[in-house]
Amino acid sequence: MPDLFAQISPAWALFLSGLICAVVPVHTVRKLVMVLAPLAAFLLFLAPSTLGVAGGVTQIAGMDISTYRLDRLSYPFGLVFILAAFLTAIFAWHNKDRVQDVASQFYAGSALGAVFAGDFLTLFVFWEITAIASVFLIFRRGTTASRNAGMRYLVIQVLSGVLLLAGAVMLWAQTGSLAFDEVGLDAGLAGWLVFLAFGIKCAFPFLHNWLQDAYPQSTVTGGVILSAFTTKMAVYALARGFAGEEILIWIGAIMTLFPIFFAVIEDDLRRVLSYSINNQVGFMVVGVGVGTSLALNGAVAHAFADVIFKALLFMSIGAVLMRTGTARVSQLGGLFKSMPLSAFFCIIGAASISALPLLSAFVTKSMILAAVAEEGHWVIWLILIFASAGVLEHAGIKIPYSAFFGHDSGRRPAEAPFNMLLAMGLAAALCIALAFPWGGYQWLYAILPYNTAYNPYTWDHVLTQYQLLFGATAAFVILRLVNLAPHEKLSTILDFDWVYRKLGYGAGVWIGDMAGRLMAHLGGVARGAQARWGRTLGEVFTPGGAVARALPSGTMSIWTAILLGVALVIAYVAA
């Protein structure tokens, strides 16, 4: 029996629950299924007694397919995705929207499936399903903005998918294998295509805007779900295919850096969180780029922690959004009075992401920093330290402060419903547990891909972390006091997406317009030419025309004579 279950990918549990949700109209049943499905997935996940499973192996159309590869790299990602599915199911218990239920189950299932994919075909299939399923979490917001953002999101996600497909088939043509293993940029164009595909989902600089564009437009529960899967799936894929690629270090460093500046002035808290995803994923990308065991461990561990604390932050802001109808800094403030528990959990999440000692990011991010320093990338290291201070600014302080404290907006919404609080509470507990110095972080380290002896809780590490955080917080306090911090206001902040939303769109419209005019002109010219030709042909061939006129017999006789002449000449020449 266990052997049988050991072959079944946990993703199927979620797909099954998605199908059940699609047909069951009863809310409670659906929710129960959604909560139980991750548990079932977890049981399946535990079924293999050893790692290194290659299950669901089959051959379709001459291709070797392996849908369930459980090794030390996919293990932590699989686990945290199951966890995230569980938390989000609880968080979304109150949500009566069947479409979102189905979408979230398929989304989580396909993300899980992608992580367990042993070959590129399986990866591609799930890669695309994540896009198709998740976009409904955006559409269901029901606004024009969300619909348009969703379409842009879908186009970009599909682009990622087809680039992956193109790269995969090129690799297939080159190597004869579809197995998803180390790719590397040395594989030429194929490698770059796959890299680009991962990079889009990973939100590399200039490819990142779908994230800030779409996530803030998603539904309340959708935002939470979206934050958990897509980017981390991409990190996994990068770690699998491009570990140790030098260029990733720089890409990651830039990713940690630039979102900070945008997050400072951004008004929409969910967009701030989106930038924060960018920034956190940057750390992981650096870790993957460095590629040492410690760095990869750090990247994986940070991804693990990030899923949870980012979900926690999205949950708390989602609760605010649900209760107040807005997530805008300029319209919020002082909510702790009516939503103290949400505020509390938000602070836990904020402190976690800021890597406060005893909270999860502290034990994970430090691994990446240590690995970077170990490899001597001191500029990168400085950037990451700077980014850590930046994280504190936008995620650690701005989020809880501006929503729950700060200037009192006078809003007194009710506290979040119980299921949301429960989900937040569980996530907060996990944030603490993962960094618990006596058994917590050790457990986390044990499930990482490599065995390394790393201890985050050295006294000087704790001290320097406090120095950094308090130094930064002091800057916050002082800038507030002297009123030098810019205030957020209801606005649109331009980012790289301006290039396609404004410039590209405008250029498209212009080109379309010009092409339309050109075609109209050419059509006119063609019609004119056609008419002229028609007239000419008519003049020549119609009954009254030059050629077709009934010739007088005399003319005909001349023709006869001419032909006779020709025939005679030919005969003469031939002889």
Partner: protein, 103 residues
Amino acid sequence: MTDKTPRPAPENGIHPLARPFLWLDKSFARDVISLCIVLIAMILLAVDFFVHRHGETAIAERPGFFAIFGFISFAFAVLMGWPLRALLMRGPDYYGESEDSDA
């Protein structure tokens, strides 16, 4: 779509659990907290000059590096907001997609 619309909380909207913390709203309390934070930061900075700690990079071993670098980084990030705002901030309806209307 089925996310509920805001509804008023009971008792003037103050949550019972928040009652013990309402002092946080007082500006005096905020000033005290602010001062405490600055004080702690300075103490932590001071500590650095008295202990010898191990650093990951050469620059990290300089006394006070983390506190000062943290302060400067944070201040830089925030202050950069001014030019960025001037450069990139547009009206809320810049892209012509108003967020809350459904058309």
